[in-house]
């Protein structure tokens, strides 16, 4: 249905297009009634509906009317402008009209999807359409300003996601800064033994990529470093990176371990981060043999010299290359980049938070990550799965969903635990031939070859008990339970509570946002989901972009993910960054503030209000002056301007007043 009217000359000719969005909108908004309503609004010459306005035929509807001169301004009532404003602006521009003679009415997210009653929905939709129509008459043609894009990219976080993104970009010839806060890249993946479902060893597939990073001339690798300052905007970020002193000259150290062997401490005396505390390291150390860069680091919190200034400093003498420099100080690097990829990863759930599982209270209760190290040939026990008493366990219980799918801790599913629990079950059985019990709520194995892996485990005589574990304790009732850990859980398949005595418990801890996630997101000016995961621009259509242009997400910092998903997303993030850089420029939204010199009294009210120092006082003209390139278009100064001399493109007082009148013009 559609109607076309002539218009009195001079007056704007507005085209209104109402979208059904399949039935997403039309089920709660009477589209035809709305078209009728729009037709009778002032200056509306064309009023149409269409199933999917965002589709090509939908856009062509608009373009035809523009070309035919039936209309010179466009209002589309469909989804959120955050979703398709860009699409329709392109369409308008495509028909040789200024893209800013366009306004969108959000009748899906803000109406049909949130309104129960169709009549009410229709009324609300009409109000929003009326508002857009009133407003559009006041729109004027605007030009986007172009800003060139700096060709370099910053990647924060050197786990598998950061590594993959870095290599992808570097291979395309882009210069990349990879910043990692640990002394080595590799992240969590480097700690794993085998990877599901293929059971190929993590190191075998990761370490080549790590050394590739080291070798690639396009990648500047800054480990033991943190981003401390972010300024500027898409295409032109100014970054400050703090390089913590490792007291070893990276360019000289060859990773020969001589200094470490020479250390005054003959044995390790500090919990080894890489082995998640299962072993000790010395104050001077290399995290693990494949560390990248393969450079020693001195931990000044535990080094005798730094604590007492009384160390004999054998390490210094031991180093032939004189790489050790105890006077090294923290260094601030300032760089410019066009795009940023955040790959800051995750942390595992702290099992102490579920006291009823006895982690930290009873011996032989381990987290999955600890067991990963245990089963790892290069791990603290050289790959042996052993109890505290050195014996191999005869029975092992693996508890799923620790810190996942639980109202007391995290509501969400961590997505990887079922699969890695199966993997650990397999490895433990392989190493010890122990009886392994998996306690699960649901077995979640979506993914290529995942279900098959589960199938395989079922045939390896691993026990599966469907039910959340109630408690783990040393409270024994029968002689055979003596000296064991008793797992109490309801077996929901046979409908009874079971007590299973085991020698060792593995708590399959879930994934959580890093504790510093909130600082990081503020630093980069992006949002977080409730759980602390970085928020993507759109869950489906913009999963690696953020609401801050030029900042992209890769890996588990955006939500729980397994390795394949992380790598895939890292590739996507790299591609987004590449697209931005290869375009070479960004077009800034023209919604900036501007000043009417004749009206400015030079009262200076606005100047102090701009957080971007875009406003200055022109001492010759004695009025305020705005630097359009610095203005980000918040409009704070506009609201403050006492004489209305300041206005904001696309959000002038007039336009907003008319929009208000519009929404209040009820049918």
């Amino acid at each position: 249905m559609s109607t076309v009217k002539g218009s009195s000359n001079g007056a704007p000719k507005i085209g209104v297009y109402i979208c059904h969005c399949g039935i997403n909108i039309s089920s709660k908004v009477d589209v035809f009634k709305t078209v009728e309503f729009a037709k009778n609004l002032p200056n509306v010459t064309v009023s149409r509906e269409y199933k999917f306005m965002c589709s090509d035929p939908g856009q062509e509807l608009i373009q035809k009317d523009l070309r035919a001169g039936l209309i010179d301004r466009v209002v589309v009532a469909s989804c959120s402008p955050l979703m398709h404003e860009a699409t329709f602006r392109r369409a308008v521009a495509g028909a040789d009209h200024n893209p800013f003679l366009f306004q969108m009415a959000n009748i899906r997210e803000h109406v049909s999807w949130v309104t129960f009653d169709k009549e009410a929905g229709t009324e609300k939709a009409m109000a929003l359409v009326a508002a857009a129509v009133k407003r559009i008459s006041l729109h004027i043609p605007l030009e986007r300003t172009r800003v060139s894009v700096h060709p370099d990219v910053l990647i924060v976080g050197g786990g598998i996601s950061g590594i993959h993104a870095a290599l992808t970009l570097a291979d395309s010839g882009k210069k990349v800064y990879l910043v990692e806060q640990e002394p080595t890249i590799g992240g969590h993946m480097a700690k794993f033994d085998k990877t599901f479902p293929t059971l190929d060893c993590a190191a075998c597939i990761l370490t080549p990529k790590m050394s590739a990073v080291r070798a690639n001339p396009n990648i500047t690798l800054w480990t033991y470093s943190e981003v401390v300052g972010v300024e500027g905007f898409v295409g032109n970020f100014k970054i400050k990176v703090k390089r913590k002193p490792r007291y070893i000259d990276e360019s000289l150290c060859v990773g020969c371990y001589d200094c470490i062997d020479a250390c005054i401490f003959k044995k390790g005396n500090v919990n080894d981060e890489f082995n998640v505390g299962l072993s000790k390291r010395k104050p001077i150390y290399i995290p693990f043999p494949q560390a990248t860069p393969l450079v020693a680091v001195i931990d000044d919190k535990s080094c005798l010299e730094f604590k007492t200034k009384k160390c004999k400093k054998f390490c210094v003498d031991a180093c032939e290359r004189k790489a050790i420099n105890l006077n090294q100080t923290e260094e601030i690097k300032e760089i410019e980049v066009g795009a940023i990829i955040l790959a800051t990863g995750f942390k595992t759930f702290d099992a102490h938070c579920v006291p009823r599982y006895g982690y930290g209270k009873y011996p032989n209760i381990y987290t999955s990550l600890e067991v990963e190290r245990m089963v790892n040939a290069s791990g603290p026990s050289g790959g042996e799965v052993v109890l505290k008493n050195g014996e191999p366990p005869k029975t092992v219980g693996i508890v799923h969903c620790v810190g996942s799918r639980d109202n007391h801790t995290n509501k969400y599913c961590s997505r990887v635990c079922c699969m890695y629990s199966l993997k650990l079950a397999h490895l433990i059985r392989e190493r010890t031939h122990a009886e392994v019990y998996n306690f699960y709520i649901d077995m979640r194995t979506p993914g290529k070859g995942y279900e098959e892996f589960y199938e395989k485990l079922l045939n390896e005589n691993v026990h599966f008990i469907r039910g959340r574990v109630a408690e783990i304790s040393d409270w024994t009732l029968t002689p055979e339970e003596e000296g064991k850990l008793v797992i109490r859980a309801e077996d929901t398949l046979i409908g009874t509570v079971r007590r299973i005595p085991v020698d060792m418990v593995v708590l399959s801890v879930g994934m959580e946002a890093r504790s510093d996630a909130d600082d990081v997101r503020r630093l980069f000016n992006i949002s977080c989901s409730k759980e602390g995961w970085f928020l993507e621009r759109h869950p489906k259509l913009a999963p690696v972009s953020t609401f801050t242009d030029g900042v992209y997400l890769a890996g588990a910092c955006q939500g729980p993910k397994d390795i394949p998903d992380c790598v895939a997303q890292a590739g996507a993030a790299a591609a987004e960054a590449m697209a931005l850089i290869d375009r070479g420029y960004v077009e800034l939204e023209p919604n900036t503030a501007f000043i009417n010199d004749e009206l400015c009294s030079g009262c200076k009210t606005c100047i102090g209000l701009c957080p971007f120092s875009a406003i200055s006082f022109d001492n010759i003209k004695k009025i305020a002056a705005i630097n359009g390139a610095l203005c980000k278009g918040c409009g704070t100064c506009v609201a403050a301007c006492p004489s209305g001399a300041l206005q904001q493109n696309l959000f002038t007082d007039e336009q907003i007043f008319s929009e208000i009148k519009g929404v209040m013009s009820y049918v």
Binding site: E109, T636, V638
Partner: protein
């Protein structure tokens, strides 16, 4: 609503909302994507930042027939433009003071910090706001402006005889 006879009489307040583009408007979109049904009485006007909110807009909305105004911005410290929401809260505080002194129940104007992830808060706040204003009843500024003129024709009570008698 008309599908329910008993509710036909119920007063449906009109509320104008000013939502900042980056947090609250996005949260409202999220509420939509999550299909969180809420009361249809609120009409959203999008501004880039709560710092753009000129108190004039609030009064204009009331003058144009709104019974309440809802303002939504990013949580303190989260402003996409760093400090816009701080300017908003300063103005809002003084505006509330003015409205109070003008005899308008300041519950009719509400400011909420709603982050992009808080779709449920959008639902909650809008429902609450609708109920609050429903309880307060219609503000009805615009029509009243005209009624006032008619009112001027109402006669005052006659004064007692003696009053001017003494004068004459």
């Amino acid at each position: 609503m008309s599908d329910n006879k008993s509710e036909e009489k119920r007063f449906e307040p009109k509320i104008v909302a000013f939502f900042c583009n980056w947090c609250t408007y996005t949260a409202a979109d999220l509420a939509g994507t999550a299909r969180m049904t809420y009361s249809p009485n609120v009409r959203v006007v999008r501004i880039m930042c709560s710092g753009r909110l000129d108190p004039q807009f609030v009064l204009a909305a009331l003058r144009d027939g709104a019974d309440g105004v809802l303002i939504g911005g990013c949580h303190p410290g989260d402003c996409h433009y760093q400090e816009g929401n701080y300017k908003a809260i300063r103005r809002f505080r003084l505006l509330k003071k003015l409205l109070k002194s003008m005899g308008i129940d300041d519950a009719r104007v509400r400011l909420e910090w709603i982050a992009a992830s808080e779709g449920d808060k959008v639902q909650k706040v809008i429902n609450e706001m609708t109920e609050t204003v429903r309880k307060l009843g219609p503000l009805d500024l615009e029509p009243k402006a005209w009624k006032l003129i008619r009112k001027t024709q109402i006669e005052l009570p006659k004064a007692p005889q003696i009053a001017l008698g003494g004068v004459s």
